[in-house]
């Protein structure tokens, strides 16, 4: 029996068209990678909550720390994201983000006055780590790097609004409310670490 070459081609085409499961948690808005990136931050608590914690911490440390964080976090996020995208693999376990929750939430809850260099270093570390994971995730999912710009833009807006809001707060009880929010984020981070070590998520 002679085989028609088109039949083999059909089989190969069918194989390539099979929808392979992709577990990337990147958001698809249908509006393009920029909006996908913006949506990603607001729908991904593992990225959003550490950004919120850093913004609260920067706000508690005054206007100078807030201004530095406002530009350092997005810049580091973009840098880390591009590096992660270039490498194409996260190389780190996902539970490493629990460290951001614990450290930033814990410092916010403790309300310790930090030198502006300390807040800047934390902002850079946060941006590099989470940006790296985002960039690697985008590359693994075969998406466009433009999504990073959306994420970074959203990060900028969140830090700007929250840090400025906390700097603006005057009554003492409002500072306590910010500390309570920090303790909640740290608590979530501790549970997240536990889930990660248990291998549930």
């Amino acid at each position: 029996m002679t085989r028609h070459p088109l039949s083999l081609l059909g089989a190969v085409a069918a194989l390539t068209l099979l929808p392979a499961p992709a577990h990337a948690h990147l958001v698809t808005t249908g509006l393009g990678p920029l909006y996908d990136g913006i949506s990603h931050l607001f729908l991904s608590f593992e990225d959003l909550l550490p950004v919120v914690a850093l913004a609260l911490l920067a706000g508690l440390n005054g206007p100078k720390a807030g201004r530095l964080a406002l530009f350092v976090v997005p810049a580091a996020w973009l840098l880390g994201g591009l590096a992660g995208f270039a490498v194409g693999s996260p190389l780190l376990p996902g539970t490493v983000t629990a460290a951001s929750f614990l450290l930033l939430g814990g410092l916010t809850a403790a309300d310790r006055r930090l030198p502006s260099g300390g807040v800047t270093a934390l902002a850079a570390a946060l941006g590099l780590l989470h940006g790296w994971l985002n960039g690697a995730g985008i590359a693994e999912a075969g998406r466009e790097a433009l999504g990073l710009v959306g994420i970074v833009s959203a990060v900028f807006v969140v830090v700007a609004l929250l840090a400025a809001f906390v700097v603006w707060l005057r009554p003492p009880w409002t500072r306590i409310a910010v500390r309570v929010a920090g303790s909640w984020i740290a608590a979530i981070g501790l549970l997240l670490l536990g889930w990660g070590l248990r291998g549930a998520s």
Binding site: A11, P21, G194, S201
Partner: protein
């Protein structure tokens, strides 16, 4: 006898047809169990009366103690409770968890009923100690298929809101009748704790 036979489809063609018909689930961009995980976490602390009464009594006692304890306890408690959940997730044994929860309702209720005013560090230590039991028992019960992070978010938010309810009710401490009402509420919580303890040891 020679018959006219229809051409047989090739094996590749059959395979191609079957592959095209194969329905493989696509998980891309789908985040299953997200809302369910958050809602389960949110509901969990309010689904057990023992947990609810203990959380509210923390807020009541904090309101009686006034600043800084009123604000310190809600800052400390979520982290200590999460530490209890962390121990549970790691599988570290904590014997007598249900008894610890019942005793927490008794002691915290008594503190409110007696309007006890120990040093802040004693109050924080007492609340923190029992927070470990609550976190251990309640922080680790994630139903299969639900998102662990969002379960944790819901759980911590609900617990914090219970504290806020307690503090809100505790603001009645400003008035004489309110002070009496709070002490009665504390006694009721302690009695409920005795009931929980009875159930835990029987």
């Amino acid at each position: 006898m020679i018959r006219d036979r229809a051409p047989r489809p090739s094996a590749e063609a059959v395979l191609a047809l079957l592959l095209l018909l194969a329905a493989v689930p696509v998980y891309a961009h789908e985040q299953s169990g997200q809302a369910a995980g958050f809602l389960t976490g949110l509901k969990h602390p309010v689904s057990g009366l023992d947990h609810v009464l203990a959380m509210i009594s923390v807020g009541l006692w904090g309101a009686q103690l006034g600043a800084p304890a009123m604000w310190l306890l809600p800052v400390v408690f979520p982290m200590v409770m999460a530490f209890g959940g962390f121990l549970g997730l790691l599988g570290v044994p904590l014997p007598g968890t249900e008894i610890g929860i019942a005793v927490s309702a008794i002691l915290l209720g008594l503190m409110v009923a007696l309007e006890a005013r120990p040093p802040v560090w004693v109050a924080a230590s007492l609340v923190g100690f029992f927070g470990v039991f609550h976190g251990y028992a309640h922080g680790t019960e994630l139903p299969a298929g639900e998102n662990a992070l969002l379960y944790s978010v819901g759980f911590v938010i609900a617990t914090g809101c219970l504290h806020a309810v307690g503090i809100g009710i505790g603001l009645a401490h400003r008035w004489t009748m309110g002070r009496v009402a709070l002490r009665i509420a504390g006694a009721v919580i302690a009695l409920a704790g005795v009931y929980f303890l009875w159930g835990a040891v029987s």
